[in-house]
Amino acid sequence: MTEPIRLKLNGKEVDLHSHPMTPLLHALRNEELSPGTKYGCGEGECGACTVLLNGDAVMSCMVPLCQAEGAEVETVEGLCIDGELHPLQEAFICEGGAQCGICTPGMLMSALYFLRQPEKAPGGVREALEGNLCRCTGYTRIYQSVERAIGEAAGK
């Protein structure tokens, strides 16, 4: 059929075999490369499928696989290195930023983008996370989690 599409997923080169128009989200999930990336709405409203594509936060349900060819993709699986949780993950645990968990991977990736490129969200954490819906927490604990991670990063 079609040629495999090669990209770098969390630092490792992988070949994907889905159709080039497959949403990146489904290619990653169906090929069991990133089950942590969640499918919420499929129309770019909820942010559960947020990943970083060449460093930019994007909704992976809206990226055709062919457009990720040769790109660097970061998903929630890349946060934890050698069993060591990322400071954002630690902060979400400390502050109770996760409840049912469906929105959490997307929240973490949007938060990671904000940590790295705060200038993209001049309105702060709320703007950084405006594309991520949560039906459990009421957001306060999530904002606190991200603030905590920012504070810890600044303290270091």
């Binding site: 159709h19 080039p20 128009m21 497959t22 949403p23 489904h26 999930r29 169906n30 499918y39 499929g42 129309e43 770019g44 409203e45 942010g47 947020t50 594509l53 930019d56 936060a57 994007v58 909704m59 349900c61 809206m62 990226v63 055709p64 062919c66 457009q67 949007s110 983008y113 200038e119 993209k120 969200a121 703007e127 950084a128 405006e130 594309g131 991520n132 819906l133």
Partner: protein, 284 residues
């Protein structure tokens, strides 16, 4: 199956040069161009694809992802420049502030990192947030095919609901804005259901030249296409008050009731926006 579209029936062409893209479009006039995918992929997930063949333009980023000043004080926004590229651009921030405002309320950051302004124009949704702004700034579209290119004012581009003057052989390569001649107190108002991630019930952009000699006022979600309210602009330039201007504006708009709002509410909001705009302009 993860989407309501059978993806295996779709064909995806990937050009590596502009010439190749234009040749593909000429050979497949029904092919649908895809830039950031923030509209196309929604249709895919919903099973409402506008065709079977797609031309994915992402390899042309080198040529088309620019936001650059022109020698006459204007700016050129390439077909692949996304909302983030535009709203973070220092020149845009300085001279076209309404573009920054409207890009910031289009979807969320993840959408702004993917969606393009040219795509927003090409899609032809009457609810597009950046299109009224581009109209107020007298935007001109650069349309190209294998035979050459032509420039079309954005306010002449739409012919009906999601209908444009574009030929099947053409692609939009850039949006050009002339030197901004408006006063600093430019106006933008989006009325949606919530502050973030909402599609507009009414969206309006406006401004005036120094001394109120000329006005610009454009509207989204209140007619089959985004419109410039030229007659209202003229009435305002002749010194009309809000009451008189409203009598003219209501002949230029034709809001309907749909999933997002009602005609009655939209009319009421348009009137309030017009009043706010006039107050805003006279402050200067």
């Amino acid at each position: 199956m993860n989407t309501r579209t059978n993806i295996n029936t779709l064909k995806c062409l990937v050009p590596f040069t502009i010439a190749e893209a234009l040749e593909m479009k000429a050979a497949h006039p029904d092919a649908f161009p895809i830039a950031g995918g923030t509209d196309v992929m929604v249709w895919m997930n919903d099973g409402k694809m506008p065709g079977r063949t797609y031309i994915s333009l992402h390899r042309l980023a080198g040529e088309w992802r620019h936001v650059t000043g022109t020698s006459d004080g204007g700016i050129s926004i390439g077909a692949l420049a996304n909302y983030t590229d535009v709203r973070m651009n220092p020149l845009v921030i300085e001279r076209w502030p309404l573009l920054v405002e409207s890009a910031r309320v289009t979807g969320a950051l993840q959408i702004q990192n993917r969606g393009t302004l040219v795509g927003n124009v090409a899609n032809g949704s009457p609810a597009a947030d950046t299109v009224p702004v581009l109209m107020v700034y007298d935007a001109v579209l650069v349309l190209a095919n294998t035979k050459g290119e032509r420039r079309v004012p954005l306010s002449d581009f739409y012919t009906g609901y999601r209908q444009t003057i574009m030929d099947g052989s053409e692609l939009i390569t850039a949006i050009e804005l002339p030197h901004a001649a408006l006063q600093p107190n430019q106006y933008f108002r989006k009325v949606g259901t919530r502050e973030a991630q909402a599609i507009s019930k009414v969206v309006c952009a406006g401004g005036s030249t120094p001394g109120g000699k000329q006005f610009r006022l454009a509207w989204g979600s209140v007619a089959p296409t985004t419109i410039r309210s030229f007659k209202t602009e003229e009435t305002l330039a002749n010194g009309a008050d809000a009451e008189e201007a409203w009598e003219v504006l209501k002949t230029e708009i034709s809001p309907i009731s749909d999933i997002r709002s009602t005609a009655e509410y939209r009319l009421r909001v348009c009137r309030r926006i017009l009043e706010e705009f006039i107050g805003h302009q006279s402050v200067s």
